[in-house]
Amino acid sequence: MKRFLYELTESWKIAAAQMRANKTRSMLTALGVIIGIVAVTLMGTAISGIQIGFDKSMSVLGEDVLYVEQWPWARVDDWWKYRDRKKIKTEYAEQLNHMIAASPNSNLVIAVPTSSFLRSVKYQDNQVNNVFVLGTTSDFILTSTVDCQEGRFINEIESRGGNNVCVIGYDVADALFPTGNPLNKSVLINGQPFKVVGVNSRQGTFLGLFSWDSLVVIPLPAFKKYFSAKSESDIRVKVKDKTKLADAKDELIGLMRRVRGLPPEKSDDFTVNEQEAFKSTLDPVKNSIAVAGLFITGLSLFVGAIGIMNITFVSVKERTKEIGTRKALGARRQTILLQFLIESTALCLVGGFIGLFFAYLLCLSIASAFPSFPIHFSLGLVLISMFVSVMTGLVSGFAPAWTASRLDPVTALRYE
């Protein structure tokens, strides 16, 4: 054990001496690893950035909220089956709430209807198009992670009365009121005046597809009055205990079947969606992107590893006589194996450190140039990169080190 330690120390010293003695060669070889590590690390930061963005997007949906909708969130093959389903009505929410109130052991808290359209919103000369206009009740705030950074949400009186009041999203507020305070100003939604009572705090985008902040919430009766009398809607249902989501979902399906009056032999003509459903659809996509990305960037590291292997073979060849001498002086096979493994590993570690440094700089510059680009540099990533470097060194150094350790001392000593 002690001997192993001494030999290990000796091997590190030799490796350092070798690098000092062959600076150019070592740098060029390490360059392969540097490029590989930069590529893999950047890919890693992008993947974890995407993951974090994804989780953030998901959390806006809420882990404890079920969505009653016509269409499932997952991809469907038999879309015609869903197309002909009856629309979900706003009135269902009230019926559901009655049933929830009637059963004290219910896993559900409250059902909220949400009707929506894309409309333009205007204040004086400023206009925002394609704003997500959401008609709902004052209970919406219970099912949402949104909070108001200024003002308040729609209250119950306004909600029931269908007053012309609205809560605007962060981006809408930003676009319509670049300087002033939006509270109590009157904005035009599709030509109808609504008084701003609150401004939402920033939510970010959903998977970079659309912004949660390009939103205007108005009372449902006002929505019906001005935009659609058809009372088509989705229904959000808040769950009491998110660990019992499955039970809650079953219960909600049962309630919805009662609302729809479905006989037992008929299948559901609605879908209860949840955040998890999204995840299960998107996870495979996300994972295959990650695997493909890491594989492709991994190839560059592989090329670097071949460089290391090559140079270690050269090193073994050049120092055959030295290996012979060491063997004559009592170096065992594992001593020589260790020596060359450490040499290749040391090269890879140096490459790894430099690569990580560059990757970090690149991350910083990307983050400052494109703030929305999902990138995330973490300690875990540093450790993984170092581990990958060491493994690269060990794997690429093994064949040459093995060759060296197997050299016949007599042949090695005679080698010129």
Partner: protein
């Protein structure tokens, strides 16, 4: 001169009229070694029997192709015989594997090469420490013993010089210090003066002489008659066989 390099512990010698010798260190019996080169089999040794006692000074001589190098590799435990038996200090070496042989070389044999075989990028001290590293000796002891060995060969002031900063004679002295540092049973010197001018060569031979006087066992492999004259016993090889074995 010799303070650190302890002479091998005295054992009960069996002096006879003709052979006033210590115990047997190397006991080679009828060994042969052949190599297969393509279709041909080369018989480098064809049955050599050789016994070397403690504190002998023996020269192995012979022209190239005589099997001299092969015998040296056998004696040095760098190679194992194709047939025959080789015992080193009573241990059967002919059956040992690579790592066991490495351990024997490390502890029992001090090599001195014609081309010195020093590590070019290491200083004298580190070169001499090398066998001690492989023996698993701790750093402090290593340095102390290596310094002692270097002082004993007269290089106490060249501890931190690298081989290219030393003369040929000094390099060979470093190599001898390295051979001695593990207190080996034998010193195996392969043409130790081959790369030196004759004056420096004589100095090195004087160093071997003093080592011998201090109780070391020396096996010298050479083709130079002048050099072999320093030894007390000369073995001549020819065509893989011992031609003569004369005690001076």
């Amino acid at each position: 001169m010799n303070a650190v390099i302890a002479p091998p512990p005295p054992e009960i010698a069996v002096p006879t009229a003709t052979q006033p010798r210590g115990p047997v260190v190397i006991d080679i019996e009828n060994i042969s070694r052949h190599y297969i080169m393509g279709e041909e089999t080369v018989h480098a040794l064809r049955g050599v029997t050789l016994r070397i006692h403690r504190n002998e000074y023996i020269a192995i001589m012979g022209p190239s192709g005589s099997g001299k190098s092969t015998l040296m590799n056998m004696v040095g435990c760098l190679d194992t015989p194709s047939s025959g038996r080789y015992e080193f200090n009573g241990k059967n070496v002919s059956e040992m594997n690579g790592d066991e042989l490495a351990a024997i070389r490390n502890r029992e044999i001090g090599f001195v090469f014609q081309t010195f075989n020093l590590l070019p990028r290491s200083n004298s001290l580190h070169n001499v420490e090398l066998p001690l590293i492989y023996a698993g000796i701790d750093p402090e002891t290593r340095e102390r013993r290596a310094m002692g060995a270097l002082q004993n060969v007269g290089l106490g002031d060249r501890l931190h010089h690298k081989p290219n900063e030393l003369s040929g004679g000094q390099r060979q002295r470093v190599a001898i210090a390295r051979a001695l540092v593990n207190n080996p049973s034998i010193i195996l010197a392969d043409e130790p003066t081959g790369n030196l001018d004759s004056k420096t060569g004589e100095e090195i031979m004087a160093l071997f002489e003093s080592l011998y006087q201090n109780g070391h066992t020396i096996v010298l492999v050479t083709h130079e008659l002048d050099i072999s004259r320093h030894a007390r016993r000369v073995v001549h090889l020819r065509d893989g066989l011992i031609e003569s074995d004369n005690v001076a």
